[in-house]
């Protein structure tokens, strides 16, 4: 990761960011102060470090200065589906959205089950240099759910954890062995709680809306049964586990109970699930075709509550860019997923307006909390930390439309929404990778 942008001239630049409201949840900083960057790292906050002379001054008046966002779930489509998006296009979009670290799931083509694929992604990311890309290795070979992957090799190659993405495991025994093997190498396992038999290739939440529309449906139990099943194994094995993309209130309560009982599991939610529900598919709107599906309004409120009370520690984009054709067709035959990098920060900021979280706490959920789950040192403005910085104007409003989208994937149901909060500058390792102001 540190090889990124090696030799870049701007890396040597000393930068003073002044006049901004610095929020660094890891260090409890919440004040108007200056930030100093030197040699790609945070040189200090407040008074200038000894002998510091700024090559570049960034005026952050009226803006919030916070650690660069860490997105736990972004499909970059490379390798394998470059017609949807590329590492170059999506890291550029990430930079525009204040995101400096992206975590990519192993369901690329080929699957991330060998060090060669890890290395390929690392090199592509280093080449474009707009965001740091970290990878999850496959839990099983080719994600087939049958044979263990070479997890030790994947860890050595730099994978920050292992996952079977949204693919099923053959049976509970393979799952048990995989979790045990991952625990051997102190790897965090990222688990998508989906009982595939119960999901039965559905495309909508099993509820009033799917019943009216006659859509093949996925019951709540496809998630809760999987959570219960996984928790039983996690608790027995003692593996470090993270639950990816909770969608039901009941699953969130099960996680809360497990945490209360001392099982150290963590969980995340994708930000669209905090705003949309099953009702939003009622016009067969394929932009709202996501998997797992949007659940009920009650689930949405309970997920928000779980974010508020800390049962869900992290908010992610679950970025899944698609080409336009992927969303053109009868609802069940369209591809699921939302392009989310552009809207992660502004949608999350609405939670502050909704008084669900205060701003420092929200920023924690987007920076240091996901960094900790990934075992990364980032997500802070500590002196000596990599200078990954997001500077955004919290008051500026803008319209999310096709012109403003930076991701190659324009598949989002938030087209036409007014967004509040605009990223003005993004720094990655002390380099400006995005700037709205010259």
């Amino acid at each position: 990761m540190t090889s990124m942008a090696r030799g870049s001239r701007s890396r040597q630049q000393q930068i003073r960011i002044h006049g901004g409201h610095v929020i660094d949840p890891a260090n409890g900083v919440d004040a108007v102060t200056d930030v100093y960057v030197a040699r790609g790292r945070i040189a200090g906050l407040g008074a200038a470090p000894e002998g510091f002379t700024a090559d570049v001054e960034i005026d952050a008046g009226g803006c919030v200065i916070c650690p660069g966002l860490v997105d736990l779930a972004a499909a970059l489509r490379e390798p394998g589906q470059e017609h949807k998006a590329t590492i170059a296009s999506e890291t550029r979009a990430a930079a525009g959205g204040g995101i400096t670290t992206l975590c990519c799931a192993p369901d690329t083509t080929p699957v991330i089950d060998t060090p060669a694929v890890v290395e390929l992604i690392r090199q592509r990311a280093a080449h474009t240099g707009k965001a740091r890309v970290v990878t999850l290795g496959a839990l099983t070979r080719n994600l087939d759910g049958e044979q263990l992957s070479e997890m030790a090799a994947l860890r050595k190659a730099g994978c920050v954890g292992v996952s079977n993405a949204t693919r099923p495991m053959l049976n509970s025994l393979v799952l048990r062995r995989a979790l045990e093997y991952a625990a051997t190498f102190d790897l965090t396992v990222f688990l998508h709680p989906i009982d595939h038999a119960l999901a039965n290739e559905g495309c909508a939440h099993e509820g009033r809306v799917s019943t009216r529309m006659g859509l093949p449906a996925i019951p709540e139990a496809a998630e809760t049964a999987a959570v219960a099943h996984l928790l039983a194994l996690i608790e027995q094995i003692g593996v470090r586990a993270h639950f990816c993309r909770l969608t039901t209130g009941r699953a969130a309560r099960m996680i809360a109970r497990a945490r209360y009982d001392g099982v150290p599991v963590t969980a995340d939610v994708a930000v669209p699930y905090l705003y949309l529900s099953e009702n939003d598919i009622s016009d067969f709107d394929s932009e709202c075709h996501v998997l797992p599906p949007f659940r009920t309004v009650e689930d949405r409120e309970q997920l928000r509550n779980a974010v508020r009370n800390g049962t869900i520690q992290v908010i992610c984009s679950d970025h899944q860019p698609h080409e336009p054709d992927a969303k053109m067709g009868p609802f069940p035959s369209t591809r699921p997923g939302i392009s989310g990098l552009d809207s992660l920060l502004p949608l999350s900021l609405r939670l502050v307006d909704d008084e669900l979280l205060d701003l420092p706490e929200l920023i924690r959920r987007l920076t240091v909390a996901p960094a900790q789950i990934l075992g990364l040192p980032g997500g802070t403005l500590s002196t000596g930390a990599s200078a990954d910085i997001c500077i955004f104007d919290p008051a500026q409003t803008w319209l999310l439309d096709h012109a403003s989208l930076r991701s190659q994937g324009h598949n989002t149901p938030f087209i036409g929404w007014e967004m509040k909060g605009r990223v003005v500058h993004t720094l990655l390792e002390g380099r400006l990778v995005h700037s709205l102001r010259p």
């Binding site: 799917s210 019943t211 009216r212 859509l215 449906a217 016009d283 053109m328 067709g329 609802f331 035959s333």
Partner: protein, 324 residues
């Protein structure tokens, strides 16, 4: 996509016919009244009217169908339209050609109306939201979602048998409601026409989640479910339901939910029996019922032509008087 209002033009008239949901009672009644006027024509020796002369209607069927396609074809011909039947089953679909490509190609031949049947819910909405402004779309069945002309011919049949006041009627829909587009459309139509009571009768595996939210009472016992009802609407049971662990056997289904003369005794004395066809004799009902005095199953087929003529002519009229 613009939702169910897609099917209504700015003057509140039918532009496409995609689903019963989102329409109002007045419009349903208009369809039934218009069908009544066409029913007279179909009983005459010269069965043609020149309403759609010079218009081109394409029956675009992505799923096999004989009855529905034939009655649509006959309806179009009796309105003097030119009809083209295109059957695109899964196997013959050119790999890679999207539904939209198929549509655009046919549309380039200056088609005035598509009659579409497709295996996926929402297909008719998708097509309607992508056709040229001068083209109407009639849904001839999409996935499990909707089959509105079937529901309207059923309403027509009920109205002819029982009179226009649906408020005093009890109606039971029996069978695989979960997978049935026919049942969904029937339920919407019956409720819009203020039917006194709408029931569904099926084992738990064939009842959709939150079925009551559709405006029905759920029964798991045929005996209780058809007690005192005026109309029994049977649904077709697909053979593949045995494979998906939804039912143990056709035999047990017939024992519990198959309609027999003996079981009908529990219904109102003048109850009618309906079925959208094709019937699995000895599964949904026995032959004695299907061919018996209460059966209006063949009338349903006849009425299908008049109802489809009504819907086609109304949709075509909307755009003729409209802005183009």
């Amino acid at each position: 996509m613009k939702g169910t209002n897609l099917q209504i033009d700015s003057q509140g008239r039918l532009r496409h016919f995609l689903t019963i949901s989102g329409l109002n009672r007045q419009l349903l009644t208009e369809i039934l009244d218009t069908a009544e006027s066409f029913a007279g024509i179909t009983e005459q020796t010269v069965k043609k009217v020149p309403l759609l002369r010079g218009k081109t209607i394409v029956n675009l069927f992505f799923e096999a169908s004989t009855r529905t396609r034939t009655t649509f074809e006959l309806a179009a011909k009796r309105l003097s339209a030119d009809v083209l039947n295109i059957n695109i089953t899964q196997s013959s679909t050119t790999k890679g050609e999207t539904l939209l490509d198929t549509l655009r190609n046919i549309e380039a031949m200056h088609v005035d109306m598509f009659v579409v049947r497709h295996g996926e819910s929402g297909a008719a909405h998708f097509i309607a939201s992508h056709v040229a402004p001068h083209t109407s779309v009639i849904n001839a069945g999409d996935g499990r979602h909707s089959h509105p002309t079937q529901a309207m011919l059923d309403m027509f049949t009920i109205r002819r048998a029982k009179g226009p006041d649906f408020g005093r009627l009890r109606v039971a829909i029996v069978g695989d409601v979960l997978h049935s587009r026919v049942a969904r459309s029937q339920i919407h139509a019956l409720n819009l026409l203020n039917t006194g009571e709408v029931r569904i009768v099926a084992p738990g595996t064939l009842v959709p989640a939150f079925a009551e939210s559709l405006g029905v009472k759920v029964f798991h016992d045929l005996h209780a479910g058809i007690r005192d009802v005026d109309v029994i609407m049977m649904l077709r049971l697909q053979h593949e339901r045995m494979k998906g662990a939804l039912l143990p056997s056709e035999h047990e289904y017939y024992e519990l939910f198959g309609l027999t003369e003996k079981k009908i005794a529990n219904a109102s004395p003048d109850a009618i029996v309906m079925h959208p066809g094709p019937i699995n004799r000895g599964v949904e009902m026995d032959s004695e019922v299907a061919d018996g005095p209460r059966s209006v199953i063949l009338q349903q087929v006849t009425h299908g032509i008049a109802v489809r003529m009504a819907v086609m002519s109304m949709a075509m009229r909307s755009k003729q008087d409209g802005n183009d």
